[in-house]
């Protein structure tokens, strides 16, 4: 349900950036949602559609990039890719992992006219 708050924050950012770029229409949004972030991308798509209604990004295409989870395995002493928090190391099956990346939520770029 917090996807609604995140979508509203995204559309606020879009509005700000569109005004700064002197653009009246936003036709495409590129958003990065890490595999380990707390966001369900299906819920986010739905919420963005609703939040964008009546603004410059209404009907804009939403491209969601999902960078994988990256963690440091204390046993392997190596950086590994994990599908979720709590998942074991794909190399040694150990569970002593420190998450290093893949939890980002960013508006990367947008196409405007």
């Amino acid at each position: 349900m917090h996807e609604v708050a995140i979508a509203a924050a995204l559309i606020d950012l879009v509005r700000e950036e569109a005004a700064a770029a002197r653009a009246s229409r936003v036709t495409r949004l590129v958003v990065e949602i890490g595999a380990l972030s707390h966001v369900d991308t299906h819920a986010l798509r739905f919420a963005v559609d609703v939040a964008a209604h009546g603004g410059p990004a209404e009907g804009a295409r939403l491209d969601i990039l999902e960078p994988p989870g990256i963690a440091w395995c204390l046993d392997c002493e190596a950086s590994v890719t994990i599908p979720a928090r709590g998942a074991p190391c794909p190399r040694c099956d150990g569970v002593k992992l420190i998450v290093q990346g893949g939890d980002e939520m960013r508006l990367k770029e947008m196409e405007v006219s």
């Binding site: 995140i6 924050a9 950012l13 999902e66 709590g86 569970v95 939520m105 770029e109 947008m110 196409e111």
Partner: protein, 270 residues
């Protein structure tokens, strides 16, 4: 690669729901035109006059900026702010009431109560004599930094003391919203499942301390506390753990010692 959902590329994930591979809006993929000199060529650009703007901003940038403002305010008053998070019914309010009773007049305390509806929890806190303010989020599932900023203007940050922020009972949404707290404390009762840290990993990854509550019920349950702790350390190897019962008082002394230590750190640091 499908540009709508990102499937089919090595570093992106395939969405699990069935979906179509055609796009749901029509747009021209190029156009041909003739110049005054008679030459004709095709543009690859789809949208006339479209340009790409690089943004690279965090979606929660606004919330995070207000959280930093709150944090500076806590710092100025040397207030230790703790964000208490859990599922509904974990015993957060009962733990708080007992904690406030034991702290008594030792140092200043205040409580921000977050719930979707009712002021029942703030009433329970106020009955202990501690100042409290209720925030009703309505349909909102979490507190955000702006709500805390608003509460602070009315309640103030207790100088050299502790501000307890009881978040809305929800193990998912509050994880991503920084309020300006020194740390998140996740509370799990023994009547829940040992696998909660794996199911709601984001919250356990974000919390510095896990408090296991209602331990007086353990003799009546098949609950494996060690399995719960193992699972919590699996998502967060450095998480601290306390076990207690607000009802019997077991473990309360260690929790108060933990609070004293955290407060001492807050007082010592600029």
């Amino acid at each position: 690669m499908c540009a709508t959902c990102g499937c089919g590329d090595g570093d992106r994930r395939i969405e699990t729901l069935p979906h179509r591979h055609d796009h749901d809006h029509a747009h021209a993929h190029g156009h041909m035109h003739t110049h005054a000199d008679g030459t004709t060529h095709t543009h690859a650009e789809g949208h006339d006059g479209a340009r790409l703007v690089s943004v690279e901003r965090d979606l929660l940038a606004r919330n995070n900026a207000i959280a930093e403002e709150n944090r500076r305010r806590f710092q100025a008053k040397r207030t230790l702010a703790l964000n208490l998070v859990s599922s509904p019914g974990s015993g957060k309010t009962a733990l708080l009431v007992e904690t406030l009773r034991r702290i008594g007049q030792k140092y200043p305390v205040a409580v921000v109560e977050g719930d979707q509806e009712t002021s029942a929890d703030a009433d329970r806190i106020r009955a202990t004599g501690a100042p409290a303010i209720q925030i009703n989020t309505g349909k909102g599932c979490h507190l955000d930094a702006d709500l805390i900023r608003g509460a602070l203007t009315r309640l103030g940050a207790p100088p050299n003391g502790i501000l307890f922020i009881e978040n809305v009972g929800n193990l998912v949404c509050p994880a991503g919203f920084d309020l300006g707290e020194a740390q998140k404390v996740v509370i799990v009762s023994v009547t829940e499942g040992e696998d909660k840290p794996l199911k709601y990993s984001g919250m356990f990854a974000a919390a510095g301390l896990m408090v296991v509550t209602k331990t007086d019920l353990l003799p009546h349950l098949d609950f494996d506390v060690e399995a719960l702790i193992d699972n919590a350390r699996r998502v967060h190897p450095g998480i601290a753990v306390l076990k207690l019962s607000a009802k019997s008082g077991d473990g309360m002394e260690r929790w108060l010692q933990w609070l004293d230590a955290a407060r001492a750190l807050r007082l010592a640091a600029d």
